[in-house]
């Protein structure tokens, strides 16, 4: 929670006009990609990371949808931050996410029907993605629209990048494909690496392996940047 108050205080002191991509603004965008990644550091949004990362394609669509929802949502909340009644602010936030998610869902249904069937329930689940409500509450309610936009895009991209990394390994090791293309050869015809007795690891397709993959990424990240390790 320390982080939250810090961010809110930051704005109270009205800063003089700063360039659009000042150092601080750039940090808003890049920080969540690595050192403050919503999944590996804040451990938010894990549920959807488990559910949809068995293949690359849905992961990328999910990443794009979350970038859209969080980018726009943060701006909307930020623009309304001074008129939102504090008593019902969580409800207002939910309404904003839900509206945006319905828009995404309808657009997918209209223009990418097969994909929307594949993602079916997960698009709806964006509403419950903790990252979104987290950023609304912690950042957009206390910061200007431009900053909120950068923060939203940054955090959603950090989430998306991780989804894509996890999905890459799960699809490659679990099904031997990338974007559905058989990059490792054909397991039934025994071509490519399968000719040498390689087998797909069916375990990778199941949800628990997403957790373990995320765990390995957290491990690698923290062993490279010791500052991220909490001292318990």
């Amino acid at each position: 929670m320390a982080e939250v108050t810090e961010e809110k205080v930051e704005v109270k002191a009205k800063e003089p006009k700063e360039p659009l991509f000042s150092k601080k603004n750039k940090k808003l965008l890049t920080d969540p990609l690595a050192d403050n990644n919503p999944i590996t550091i804040q451990v938010l949004g894990i549920c959807s990371a488990l559910a949809i990362t068995a293949q690359l394609k849905p992961s990328i669509v999910m990443a794009i949808s979350v970038v859209f929802v969080l980018g726009i949502g943060n701006v909307v909340i930020s623009l309304m931050r001074n008129i939102i009644p504090s008593k019902i602010r969580i409800i207002v936030q939910l309404v904003v996410v839900a509206t945006l998610v319905i828009v995404v869902d309808q657009v997918l249904k209209a223009f990418a029907y097969t994909l929307s069937k594949e993602l079916s329930v997960f698009i709806g689940l964006i509403i419950t993605n903790c990252i979104i409500m987290g950023r609304f509450e912690a950042f957009a309610l206390g910061n200007g629209p431009w900053k909120s936009f950068l923060d939203g895009i940054g955090n959603a991209a950090g989430y998306g990048v991780l989804l894509i990394i996890v999905a890459f390994f799960r699809e490659l090791l679990g099904s031997g494909t990338l974007f559905g293309a058989k990059v490792l050869g054909d397991p039934i015809e025994k071509t490519g690496v399968y000719a040498f007795g390689y087998e797909n690891n069916g375990f990778m397709v199941l949800a628990p392996m997403a957790l373990i993959t995320v765990g390995i990424i957290i491990w690698i990240q923290r062993s490279r940047n010791k500052a991220l390790i909490e001292d318990h």
Partner: protein, 251 residues
């Protein structure tokens, strides 16, 4: 201008305004996108029907025909062979495509005397006839539906496609998978005496490879008993309704 955002009256006005704005926005978007979504649903139905009669993507036999070719192929294989059946009387009409099994089920529920309209599609491929029956039932969590095509003696299943709204991924959701659906192909819907029996999704029927095509049973999916039972009930009821009509055709 500072607004007192803590006042109750303000909170209520804000909430009302928000609901009105959001409602109008969503209604607008929905009506703009509706034609596209409806077109997609029609395409999907055509793809499903074609799939049940074995017209699939040439590259991958487990895929639908490409969406942009669905209409053309549907006209080629099914054309205007669309019928609405009431009892044992069939009427050839384009309207058959728009009949929703779900709505007919609901009407029957409200009025037990209602004579349901049953859509039937007859496809022709390589000189063979496929009688395609749409059906709808309940899985474990939500609706399941499918299209089953029968041969012209109404003895055997020639093809099937099943889909679901929200069955458990990896368990009940497997009714969509080829290994489950393909077991239905060639399976007999009549018992040895020639009476209608349907097809049972059965645990431990000692026939995992589905060699016996005349035992009216296919192998169940592990961990998805209730979804499997749902498929059994749906197929059994779904084809049974058509029996009076099929009987007149057999004569």
């Amino acid at each position: 201008m500072a607004i007192n955002t803590d006042k109750n009256s303000y909170t209520i006005i804000f909430a009302i305004a928000m609901v009105v704005v959001v409602g109008a926005l969503l209604a607008g978007i929905s009506s703009v996108l509706k034609p596209n979504i409806t077109a997609n649903k029609i395409t999907e139905k055509q793809q499903n029907i074609l799939f049940a009669m074995g017209v699939t993507d040439t590259e991958d036999p487990n895929e639908f025909v490409p969406a942009e070719k669905a209409e053309e192929l549907f006209n080629k294989y099914v054309g205007d062979e669309k019928y609405i059946i009431v009892g044992d009387v069939a009427e050839k009409t384009e309207d058959a495509f728009n009949i929703e099994v779900k709505k007919e089920n609901d009407k029957l529920k409200q009025d037990p005397n209602y004579k349901r309209k049953m859509p039937l599609f007859i496809g022709k491929k390589d000189g063979e006839e496929f009688y395609i029956v749409p059906m709808r039932g309940n899985g474990l969590w939500d609706a399941i539906w499918g299209y089953v095509s029968l041969d012209k003696e109404f003895k055997k299943v020639k093809g099937a496609f099943f889909d679901h709204k929200g069955e458990t991924p990896g368990l009940g959701a497997n009714i969509k998978e080829a290994y489950f659906r393909d077991d239905f192909i060639g399976e007999s819907i009549l018992d040895a005496a020639g009476n209608y029996k349907g097809i049972t999704v059965k645990k431990g029927n000692g026939d995992p490879k589905n060699v016996r095509k005349d035992d009216n049973a296919v192998d169940a999916m592990a961990g998805a008993t209730i979804t499997g039972d749902g498929v059994t009930a749906m197929v059994k009821k779904g084809i049974k309704m058509y029996q009076p009509y099929f009987a007149t055709l057999k004569k």
